[in-house]
Subunit: 273 residues, 2 copies
């Protein structure tokens, strides 16, 4: 099992009741050493202030969520996405984030052309990568569960993400989230293939039944994912980073006292990751 | 686009308001030439009576739903599943079904061992295949969308299903349902690999947003799947069978007048398949 020192908190896990300043304080109070904030939360308290607070708290920034969302219905939309991704890269640099997580985007409105969307994603990442390299920011493609192919990310397997990494080269890696990849019969083989290109490792659990496609993720240990097996695989591949807890849970964890949630995360990272 | 003569009705599409006898009458009334019944509906009116009604109506049986559900927590459970699959094979033979569709099953209760479940699926299919060959019934593995990996089917890509076909040999093929496979970046390549092993082709659509993991499938044309592209691919691979409409839709189509649903299926198979 993992040690509590490897725990990083993706701020989505407690975002409903706390703003980012409270989350950073919560991490300190619970001796959580890593954080992965979302850009809207950063904007709410200011980028420089966020960077200052995180430095003062001594937190490792395991990622910034998120860049991506490249496909668009027209050239103007694609250009706007690229500009937003440049800003996201700059923010990741300011925060000293280990990576900028890319949720690449799905089908443009009205489109059924998933191959076309995938081509737009490739072009968008390629364009962003130039700027990211100059800034020293690594980009992490997060393959999302296939149930998000239409509306969130048309990169849906680790193998597909690694094909993009092979094509586009240096500075590009992957974020492996157990929720998105646990079902994949190729997962062990693709994790080994990824090697040091694994830039982040996200944990939560798949509940049975799952009541909502987006907001019903489980606490580690409450579902069916063999998380220790996947963690062992990413570590065997050379991953030396933290275990980032990211739980979207409108009806359960988002309703609880965030201090209770953080205490449980500390326990579960040891017993169930 | 497809012609209306290729339309087959999976009886789940109108199962809430009609029993199987009414569905067969509905197919006649709407000049629908194929049917794929579910075993519980067959049992409700009797196997021999079902066979008689279907013969009298001149319907092609494009499949029987369903065998599978092989993994179990203990040997007794696995043995019971094999016995049930033998019965399903016999029923498919009696009905003259083009195939017995296999929804292979997910994790046994309490288990997180998906590799173990997959091994149980392989063994279960192998054991069933002997009997199916003697009966002249083809078995069609239906890879299910990865969101069903835990509770319904741990075979989640066409490639994975074809690996099983390669291993287990003659008499085994696949059912390709656009809902389950449309997102797969490998899908065209795997359809070509499948070739004549495609025993059934199921159509419906993926809605955005999808409000329920199981019961919110869309009518062809109402979602984001490029169905004609997939149909062209299966036909290019050698598939000569019908286009089977299977829509689970608790809040929309199951609430409508089934005659209205069948009229719309006839239209949409021509405009959107």
């Amino acid at each position: 099992m993992a040690t509590v020192e490897t725990l990083s908190l993706n701020t989505a896990t407690v975002r409903v009741k706390w703003d980012l300043r409270q989350i950073i304080e919560g991490c300190q109070r619970h001796a959580i050493r890593g954080i992965s904030p979302w850009r809207d939360q950063v904007a709410a308290i200011g980028l420089d202030e966020t960077a200052r607070l995180i430095r003062a708290a001594g937190l490792t920034v395991t990622g910034l969520c998120r860049g991506g969302m490249f496909p668009a219905a027209d050239a103007e939309g694609r250009r706007a996405a690229l500009e937003d991704n440049r800003r996201a890269v700059d923010e990741a640099a300011t925060l000293g984030a280990a990576c900028l997580v890319l949720v690449v985007g799905g089908l443009p409105p009205g489109s059924k052309d998933i191959a076309g969307a995938r081509a737009q994603v490739r072009d968008g990442i390629a364009a962003t990568l130039d700027h990211a390299r100059r800034q020293g920011v690594k980009l992490a493609i997060e393959p999302l569960h296939p149930m998000y192919a239409a509306d969130r990310a048309c990169v849906n397997t680790l193998g597909q993400a690694l094909d993009l990494c092979d094509e586009l080269g240096e500075g590009l890696g992957v974020a492996v989230d157990v929720y998105h990849v646990w079902w994949d019969p190729e997962i062990e083989r693709q994790i080994a293939r990824a090697g040091r290109r694994i830039l982040a490792f996200h944990v939560c659990d798949w509940l049975v039944p799952t009541k909502d496609l987006l907001l019903d993720r489980g606490m580690m240990g409450d579902g069916v994912i063999d998380i220790p097996r996947l963690r062992a695989a990413v570590e065997a591949a050379g991953y030396l980073g933290m275990n980032e807890v990211e739980i979207f849970s409108a009806e359960t964890w988002w309703k609880r006292d965030p201090d209770e949630v953080l205490r449980l995360c500390r326990k579960r990272v040891v017993t169930s990751v």
